[in-house]
């Protein structure tokens, strides 16, 4: 690993017309990204869709969610409820993100309606408008960590570390999510949302937000009516007390790495993880692989990793190791926002695409 500083202008993350023009002028927007050469037959086999793995995992997920939720209800008022609240919270507030993501890509299941059903359910759990966020994520894949274009940059430079820490209990995310849902439900799409959601989709975004808001309003009304926090612990609350695993794994995707480049090996991180985290995260720890080949379903990412690892930086061997790399980078970026971690490529890899990302 080497550390790099560059000399580029201060970053403006607003998705404005001016920033879009700048990104296009630099060749960073809608650019051609580096891809590892792979045999067509091999990648076709990995891209092939199956219902089986996602049905199995979804039944396990919903089963555990149901059982732990029933245990929370049954043990409410006792200290014995705590472990079940923690389990339910992670299954709701963290696992939802990976289901939202994979089903949004349409790769989790072979059958389209299954992708759509889980996508809408998970969108509600993660408090995201299923319409606006589908377009936001398409932009994230077009312009990954391109300043002024990507709407899903989790940690902007210089890093707001207080915000990062508070988001482990969803403080800012829930605030911004609820604000967006309420505005959408009132018929208003914010400026950045209008920049990536086609006008023809605005009506669908408003309708979806209204459904979410009605369910949250009913939950709050029920809690008040019965004089108990239980409805909020079961619905909505887990997006705060159970989202820590989503943050823990999600920050590693791009945190501390390069921005304004067109080579996913420079701006994305693959981290080897334990089986429980990989189940919750649906294998998105293979994040360089996912960005290079987003059509490969979650269950085939380990095989994709084996196929192309000769061309990628070595993966971080653990979550802990990833944080040992990322946290010092965040701290360095407080003093120098141009700093980023640049990982060494193995001798078998093609060089980074310097021609595409030098500014």
């Amino acid at each position: 690993m080497t550390t790099v500083t560059t000399n580029i202008p201060p970053r403006d993350y607003r998705l404005s017309d001016e920033n879009a023009q700048l990104a296009f002028a630099r060749g960073l927007a809608s650019a051609e990204w580096y891809h590892t050469d792979v045999d067509r037959k091999a990648i076709k086999a990995l891209m092939k869709r199956h219902d089986g793995p996602a049905i199995r995992d979804t039944l396990i997920w919903l089963g555990l969610l149901g059982v732990s939720g029933l245990a929370v209800i049954a043990l409410w008022g006792s200290w014995w409820v705590l472990p079940f609240v923690l389990i339910y919270g992670v299954l709701y507030g963290s696992a939802c993100d990976a289901r939202w993501h994979e089903c949004g890509h349409g790769t989790a299941f072979k059958t389209a309606w299954m992708n759509d059903a889980v996508y809408h359910f998970a969108s509600f759990l993660v408090m995201r408008n299923p319409v606006t966020w589908r377009w936001s994520h398409a932009r994230h894949h077009t312009d990954t960590v391109i300043v002024g274009r990507d709407a899903e940059i989790a940690v902007m430079r210089p890093p707001d570390l207080l915000k990062v820490v508070l988001n482990f209990v969803g403080i800012f995310d829930v605030w911004y999510s609820m604000k967006a849902l309420l505005l959408n439900a009132a018929g208003v799409l914010q400026e950045h949302e209008r920049s990536f959601v086609p006008e023809a989709e605005h009506g669908k975004a408003v309708a979806a937000a209204r459904v979410h808001v009605v369910i949250y309003a009913a939950t709050i009304a029920t809690a008040i009516a019965i004089g108990s926090w239980l409805p909020l612990v079961l619905i909505g609350g887990p997006r705060m007390y159970g989202c820590w695993h989503m943050l823990m794994t999600g920050l590693l995707q791009h945190g501390g790495l390069a921005d304004n480049v067109t080579d996913h090996r420079l701006n994305s991180r693959t981290v080897l993880m334990n089986p429980v985290s990989r189940f919750i995260y649906w294998n998105m720890n293979y994040h360089v692989e996912h960005h290079m080949f987003p059509m490969v379903p979650f269950h085939a990412l380990p095989q994709l990793h084996a196929l192309i690892k000769h061309d990628l930086p070595a993966p971080n061997p653990s979550i802990w190791d990833g944080y040992r790399e990322m946290i010092p980078a965040f701290l360095r970026q407080l003093r120098n926002e141009d700093y980023y971690v640049r990982r060494a490529l193995p001798p078998t890899a093609k060089p980074y695409r310097e021609d595409l990302h030098e500014i």
Binding site: W135, T142, P294, M295
Partner: protein, 105 residues
């Protein structure tokens, strides 16, 4: 006026697969359906100009490799977001063992 342009041999494209074909300044995607028929569309996705030849053919659907937008390649119709605009389609014929595409001048 239109011409039939030679593209490739029939066995250059596996069934349920796609290849890229460039002609002049234009780029096309040529498909071999599971039923053994051949089809041709514009090569670039209407959403973000990514080449569809790197995508996945499933039955009569081509899925864009970048954002998973889908099209029916027999009609060009966009069938899954973020693809909204349809693809252009072109007549294809097989002469002997050669696949040919008809392009308007």
């Amino acid at each position: 006026m239109s011409d039939w342009i030679d593209v490739c041999a029939t066995d250059d494209i596996e069934e349920e697969d796609v290849i890229r074909f460039d002609h002049g300044a234009r780029s096309f995607a040529i498909y071999h359906s599971p039923e053994g028929e051949f089809f041709a569309t514009d090569g670039l996705c209407t959403h973000e100009q990514v080449h569809l030849a790197d995508g996945l053919v499933m039955d009569h659907i081509i899925e864009c490799p970048k954002h998973n937008g889908q099209f029916n390649y027999t009609t060009g119709k966009a069938t899954r977001l973020p693809a909204c605009d349809h693809l252009g389609t072109y007549p294809v014929r097989v002469e002997g063992d050669r696949v040919q595409i008809q392009l308007s001048e």
